[in-house]
């Protein structure tokens, strides 16, 4: 446990003793102090959504490299690798950076622009780089070499076995990630390893801490992404024991529309609600549907397009004068790939540039406005997949301004009738929050942002029993 825990607001905002900027700075200072002290083989930093994880990684990498400590960075996807290189190269224009890549990787434009960045498939070809960055999958193929330091980014998305394969490459490591997001998974179903501290199917951080419980765990206390309207809600539902607060005030962020809503009806009402309060529930009549519920997909698309049509403008600490919410600042999130395909089809050419993706692939991303197709919408019964707290957490924590949840009525009843028959395994730490509880908590909040006059209430609602 680190002393920074003392600064943590318990159960949400409101009790922060320090201004957010100062609280965050202190934690980062403690993290760096722990790194430099050399007292620990590993340091873990839990970072809630938008709490400045990348900033921390870039800063730690820069400081370690400048101190002359050869360093590797292990990320989980190629996109994350490119993101990190982009930010690090900007922050440290002199720093020689190596990008370890697969043979068939072609550097993206944003990487090509940096003269300090070299790309190669072998470590030997990256000599002279102070920092070498690659994916965990790529590092697993590096048979030798040992660096004094590693930074493992998105460590909660990494599986324990992936860490096992790369851990021989470093003496000490900084592990950074968001514990509230989706756990890694395997296509193989087996209980062979459940209960083992080294169960390869758990997250890398879980394995690390079960073997090294004495390692310091820091928590970044402030979300710079989530607005004041969302941080307490997300913190309470998904980070019940640690919490975090918003780095900005309600006054610093606002969303408005330049074009008036003509005949948009329920869609416009939902958007107005979202602009005013940060949340909206766009509720469709109760019905059991296919996963690819056409009506719901259409609603998601309509909402996203309407944000563009109405010329939404976002005012924030970054652009106090307001910036237009362009297509690349809008995302639609869903649970399944076929839902994504259905929504994309509904968006058509008008929605070019709007991101539509599954929760898994939205992890770590950020937008101004996010439309969420609720994973339980239209379902007759919930499965562990649909109830997973991490999935919902990812979906409702991507936005800087507003989140509109699209759902069919009846989710609350569905949750009530959900049987609790989960098997229990010995010696497996219980994961919190429970998906059921988290779903109830979030739904409870969002339901207050449902305009009773909106949605297609004129249609008869069959009701779900």
């Amino acid at each position: 446990m680190s002393s920074s825990g003392l600064l943590m607001p318990r159960g949400g905002a409101g009790r922060l003793v320090l201004p957010p900027g100062e609280a965050a700075r202190r934690v980062i200072g403690e993290v760096l102090a722990d790194l430099h002290s050399g007292d620990h083989r590993g340091v873990v930093v839990d970072s809630p959504p938008g709490a400045g994880k990348s900033t921390l990684v870039v800063r730690a990498a820069g400081e370690l490299a400048e101190a002359g400590e050869p360093l590797i960075v292990i990320a989980q996807t190629n996109e994350q690798v490119d993101d990190l290189i982009d930010r690090l190269a900007q922050a440290k224009p002199e720093l020689p950076i190596g990008r370890l890549s697969a043979n068939d990787y072609t550097a993206t434009d944003r990487i090509k622009n940096y003269s300090t960045v070299r790309v190669a498939a072998k470590v030997a070809d990256l000599g002279g780089s102070s920092v070498i960055i690659g994916t965990a999958a790529k590092w697993a193929l590096v048979p030798e070499g040992r660096w004094p330091w590693a930074i493992v980014d998105e460590a909660y998305q990494m599986r324990s076995d992936a860490l096992l394969r790369v851990a021989g490459r470093f003496d000490r490591a900084l592990f950074v990630g968001d514990p509230g997001q989706l756990d890694p998974f395997s296509t193989v179903e087996t209980e062979r390893w459940t209960g083992l501290t080294w169960d390869p199917m758990q997250s890398a951080v879980a394995a690390l801490l079960r073997h090294n419980p004495e390692l310091p765990v820091h928590r970044l206390p402030v979300s710079w992404r989530l607005p004041a309207s969302a941080a307490p809600v997300v913190a309470e539902a998904f980070y019940p024991f640690t919490g975090f607060s918003a780095g900005t005030t309600a006054a610093q962020r606002s969303l408005s529309f330049t074009a008036a809503g003509f005949g948009g009806g329920a869609v416009d009402e939902a958007l107005e609600m979202a602009a005013a309060t940060g949340w909206a529930l766009y509720e469709l009549p109760a019905r059991h549907t296919l996963r690819t519920d056409g009506e719901a997909a259409a609603a998601c698309a309509r909402l996203a397009l309407r944000v563009l049509e109405r010329g939404a403008v976002a005012v924030s600490e970054r652009s106090p004068g307001g910036a237009p919410v362009t297509a690349d600042r809008i995302a639609v999130g869903a649970a399944h790939r076929d839902q994504v395909a259905a929504i994309r089809a509904q968006l058509g050419a008008a929605g070019d540039g709007i991101t539509v993706d599954t929760a898994n692939r939205l992890q770590g991303r950020e937008y101004d406005v996010v439309i969420v197709l609720h994973p339980l919408s239209g379902r007759r019964d919930a499965t562990a997949f649909h109830l997973e707290a991490g999935r919902l957490c990812v979906l409702v924590s991507r936005h800087r301004h507003a989140c509109v949840v699209v759902a069919r009525a009846g989710i609350s009843e569905l949750l009530d009738a959900h049987p609790s028959t989960e098997p229990v395994h010995l010696n497996v730490p219980v994961r919190f929050p429970d998906g059921w509880e988290a779903n109830q908590a979030l739904l409870g909040h969002v339901a207050r942002h449902r305009d009773m006059n909106s949605t297609a209430v004129s249609l008869p609602s069959p009701g779900i029993q």
Partner: protein
Amino acid sequence: MTSISMGTSRTTAERLATIRGGAKPKRHNARTIAALTRNPGCARRAVLDTAGVDKQRLAAYIDFPARFGQSGFAIARGNAFEAQVKASGAAELVKLLRERLGLPIPEVAYDDLETVTGREKETAEVRYARSRALLLRAAAGEDGAGTLFDHPLLGLDVAGQRVYLEPDLIAFQHEGRFHVVEIKSFAVVDGQADPGKVSAAAIQSAVYVLAMRQMLAEAGHDPEIVAHDVVLVCPRDFSNQPTAVLVDVRKQLAVLRRQLGRMTKVEEMLAVLPPNLCFDLAPDADGVPTRAPEALVDALQTVDARYAPDCLSVCELAYFCRAEARGCTAALGTSAREELGGIERVETALGLAKGELTPADDQAEAATLLRNAARLRAEVLVAAAGAAG
């Protein structure tokens, strides 16, 4: 329906007594309370359980006997193991608690709460009072207030009724903190046990934790002094030696609180049921229920069930509900129903797939999917038959 005005003049308890009829109520215990969490969406089960109807007898009488039953071997083994762990002042348990939870050497006091006065049969009230007195004394942190309490009798309010629970367990207290110890005879082999059995044990233990917390809270103590970690004692590997594992039952506690809270909604459920609804199994002189099976079947059909194949392993009435659900996609399992586009009936799904039925508005998407599937299936099977022939 017609009952709403009637319902107001009768208390829920009377109403439930009518439903039960002349038969004695089936008693709740930790297992039946735990069972409430298994299919909370089923109104049929909720009504029968709340009224205390003997579902197994009912199911058998209408010719859909449940296949439950416990082997005498399993019962004997369970009792023998429990006796062994509790023998000589629970010597084996003391050893495990010393090893697992660092119980200090002086903490060995053992109070047997099963007998109070040594009589063959003691009333629940007497036993409950003694359990309560001793546990509260321990909660108050009195000197020499005891460490191990065997067979405490606990009480819990279920649907507005007090239910007594007799755990086969030992409540154990140290430094003002209570733990529930649950002794089970399934094996822990190399640190793993049957997850279904652990799950059942966890939810039963949670019932006891809840009951103890309720008792303490009523007496003005902090309920949280009953730990959410229960001590599960099982035989290790293939031997008879006990081993102890801590099981975190926080999730189970949340589930129980939720479902017990829901049970008060039984009034709403009863309000829409016929006022004369009755599942009377009272027997005549020959031991045969006086009501005809057909009448009971009729009564059952007035209460909606929510059948899923999982019910077969947990609910005594499942075979009846399954027969009733014949031809429903639900009977094929929840995932099959989902894959069939949530269409209720099998023949509808097939009709839509073959294009023989015109889909209703809300079936259009499912119909497209089913037609596609049927087309592919037919195409491949015809080709395969052609190749074979």
